[in-house]
């Protein structure tokens, strides 16, 4: 354990170029996936929260269930899509960071959508009467609520990021863990573990946890300060 910590520290202090490359790629892929999932997921959550349509309850249940999609299954499905033998093979996306972003976006979209749906539906209960009284149509109300619940939505987005940054199954299959191209923190940890270099694997693990923790702390502080100001 102490060897792991000292390995981690050593890598950080040296600003090991390989480590920097791997961390940058990890953050790049996961943050891109979060961006895609947020752009698609927030409107989706708002629409389901505020809308009334047949089958709405089924959609909500399914969305909640999809939060638990196993990453390795998503990876496999995306692989089959992007493989040369598959329907989107001609895009040549397999074994590139792009494929990893696609797979992670699919993985975390249900999380962002389901959690934002819950937050907005709770707010809708509070605001519905007043907004309808003012004459707001459903679409405009949904957009208003998206902005008004922004602090709760930030939590949903962070949950998505946490899932993306932590998973290894999807990025391993669609990325191929190629050195210098698609190797990220989680796949590195898997590789070093399989090579038997446990202190290095653990050290990388500490670094990954620290980064995710730092991001969460920053987001939490922002949220606290803003909530104190806006109520």
């Amino acid at each position: 354990m102490s060897e792991a910590l000292s390995t981690a520290l050593e890598l950080l202090v040296r600003f090991d170029p390989k480590l920097v490359e791997i961390v940058s790629l990890s953050l790049g892929v996961s943050l891109s996936a979060v961006a895609v999932a947020t752009l698609l997921g927030l409107p989706m959550g708002a629409a389901i929260a505020v809308g009334r349509f047949p089958g709405r309850q089924t959609v909500i249940v399914m969305l909640n269930a999809l939060m638990g999609l196993p990453p390795v299954v998503v990876g496999l499905l995306v692989y089959l899509l992007l493989s040369r033998a598959g329907p989107l093979g001609s895009l040549g996306l397999l074994f590139t960071p792009g494929a990893m972003v696609i797979a992670q976006s699919i993985l975390i979209l249900p999380i962002v959508a389901a959690l934002s749906r819950q937050a907005i539906e709770d707010a809708w209960r509070e605001y519905e009467e007043q907004l309808r009284s003012l004459g707001a149509k459903r679409t405009s109300a949904a957009l208003t609520l998206l902005w008004d619940t922004r602090f709760s939505l930030l939590t949903a987005v962070l949950a998505g990021f946490g899932r993306a940054a932590a998973e290894v199954g999807a990025v391993m299959i669609v990325g191929g863990n190629i050195d210098g191209v698609t190797r990220v923190m989680t796949t590195s940890i898997a590789l070093e573990t399989s090579k038997g270099d446990l202190p290095l694997a653990l050290g990388l693990g500490f670094i990954l946890i620290t980064i995710v923790l730092a991001l969460n702390a920053a987001a939490y502080l922002t949220k606290e300060l803003a909530q104190r100001r806006y109520g």
């Binding site: 040369r84 989107l88 976006s105 863990n177 190629i178 050195d179 191209v181 399989s194 090579k195």
Partner: protein
């Protein structure tokens, strides 16, 4: 569908920008043993410096690597299971197979040596003793070159392992590294390629029990994936890699790779 394609393409372009900066590259499907031994880390930069071609290695088990190539997702295969490679060729997925290098397998076992095989020179005898003693044995069970070699050895030893195995035989379905981790944790015997063993750091109580038997010889082969069957294959770049790896320069570079002064792979291209 068109909208989806465009959305996917823009997302992919954005995320793949750094990768796109590298214009010339090929995808080589290889095995975890070659990757984890560190050979590629040593070999590929030399090739890239000479030709400007980046080699992207996707490391899987031999069976998986060949399946990947069958779907057209690789340009070159670099694996070590002769029978599987010949089948691949016969199916028309490969252009031509070349010997590249060999290393050997070693039987790893616990220092306590419950089956009393240590120091032996006969692998078949060693396997028979392990079965007789019901000593714990870890198998990779993942259609890899090493797994196929292990099954062949049991057969040669006169044991039908599929029917004669007992709870002492642990079929893990893992790569070489994870399987060694498991063997170290269980204090079990395991067949490993020498390259992975030399660079493996989590040995626990394990040591080499049997080595040097000619039947432990492990041949690696390289093939260009057939562009006639898979038009997307980068045949010129892929061929350049194949040619270089069996060229005197490539062969010399393979021989130069050492860990702790010990050579891991022995070039034998004809």
């Amino acid at each position: 569908m068109d909208m989806i394609r465009r959305l996917l393409l823009s997302v992919a372009l954005l995320a793949a920008l750094p990768a796109l900066a590298q214009e010339k590259f090929i995808v080589v499907a290889s095995t975890t043993s070659t990757e984890q031994s560190g050979l590629f880390g040593y070999l590929l930069p030399v090739f890239q410096k000479k030709t400007g071609i980046q080699v992207r290695v996707v490391a899987l088990g031999t069976g998986q690597a060949l399946d990947l190539a069958r779907r057209g997702d690789a340009d070159v295969v670099f694996v070590h299971a002769r029978s599987a490679e010949e089948k691949f060729l016969a199916e028309g997925h490969g252009v031509q197979r070349f010997d590249v290098m060999y290393n050997d397998f070693v039987l790893i076992g616990p220092k306590s040596d419950p089956a009393k095989v240590s120091g032996g020179k006969d692998i078949l005898e060693g396997l028979r003793k392990i079965k007789a003693a019901s000593a714990p044995f870890v198998s990779r069970g993942d259609k890899s070159g090493t797994h196929i070699a292990e099954l062949d050895l049991w057969k040669l030893a006169g044991i039908d392992i599929a029917t004669e195995k007992g709870p002492w035989y642990r079929d893990t379905g893992q790569g070489m590294g994870p399987a060694l981790n498991t063997a170290a944790a269980m204090n079990a015997y395991i067949l490993s390629d020498r390259g992975t063993w030399i660079s493996f750091k989590n040995r626990g109580e394990l040591v080499i029990a049997v080595e040097g038997d000619k039947r432990l010889f492990n041949q690696y082969g390289v093939m260009l994936v057939n562009p006639a069957k898979h038009p997307n294959v980068k045949k010129d770049l892929g061929q350049a890699f194949v040619d270089w790896v069996i060229s005197p320069e490539g062969q010399k570079t393979i021989a130069e790779y050492k860990i702790g002064g010990e050579q891991l792979f022995f070039p034998n291209a004809k």
